[in-house]
Symmetry: C3
Subunit: 140 residues, 3 copies
């Protein structure tokens, strides 16, 4: 058993979903992991890691629009406004979407479903540099 | 240390929560795992895996109704409508509920709380065949 | 490889976010774990485990208010009211926030981001005694 580790830096250019699937798969293939578990963790409170449809861009745009609506900017009851009007709703969106993911690896492949992709969800208006921790527990 | 693997096929007959607790426990007991971690992953973008109250059916029905309300069908801003009016809201419900779960195993038992059960949440109107990956890391 | 185990009892005094970060770190340091993965699981259907901003109390208060608004008490369509008007919305809040977390451990430290803290989210009005399972897989 071995724990492989890599930290990824992802530069976003503002709100939206950024697909990471091929980057994650690349590391698993480079390490030559055959069986095990992949763990992803994002070290931020205003960005998330989600698995969702990665085939049709209209599905992605609806998800992006949904995140903006489920915790809208500028509600009059927000107290935490010192870091900008988009900061508190970003924390709310991060509250109801995942900070971490666990995905099985089988036969040397990340076992995603046919239409599943891994996205970084940037919840702030401006671009940010985001740090993700990839850990792979390989069963040998 | 050993990684046990089983893929479950669950046939749903439309929207709602389907309890899987006894199926998952059955596999862990069959394998004879005493201590470790159970991982569940669903390979779909319009269904989820949730842990919630499994005792009172009114609690389950309220959760089902809530999922239909938190991302309702037929909003006029939905772009992704080619696969049916229930597809984009299904992705939204899958965005804010889990794709994967991790549950400790202690003394040969899945360590759920008294009222907790594991549900597959089907978010599409029609029934689907859903694939779930169960992995158990056994500490020997 | 070793699996460390500890069950934490957290007493809440009603709705809100309760920070657990230092308690979790304390156990990892006591065990002397250098590299591995920390797993947290809450054995309840009306409380959650979330990672979010732990620096500014206005951010925490906005998150608490958001949880009360995203599944409000007293909707006329709630069927599950026998355990109190706050019970069904508590299950709904637990549906869209995590029951379990997985966090990497590197160089003897829990690898949280600068502003991230671990919270127990109590969703019931009254205080409760909550049980959390901490498991740490140490790579030796």
């Amino acid at each position: 058993m071995h724990l492989y580790k890599h930290n990824l830096i992802i530069n976003t250019n503002g709100r939206g979903l950024y697909e990471l699937t091929s980057q994650i798969k690349h590391h698993i293939q480079t390490w030559g992991v055959k069986e095990g578990l992949a763990y992803l963790f994002i070290q931020h409170c205003s960005a998330s890691l989600v698995i969702n449809e990665c085939y049709d861009s209209t599905a992605r745009r609806d998800l992006e629009a949904y995140l903006e609506r489920i915790a809208p900017e500028g509600e009059n009851w927000y107290e935490h406004t010192i870091e900008g009007s988009d900061d508190s709703p970003a924390h709310m969106r991060a509250l109801i979407t995942p900070t971490n993911l666990t995905i099985p690896i089988d036969d040397g492949q990340l076992s995603l479903g046919t239409w599943q992709g891994i996205y970084l969800a940037e919840h702030r208006q401006r671009g940010h540099q985001r740090q993700l921790l990839l850990r792979v527990l390989a069963i040998e």
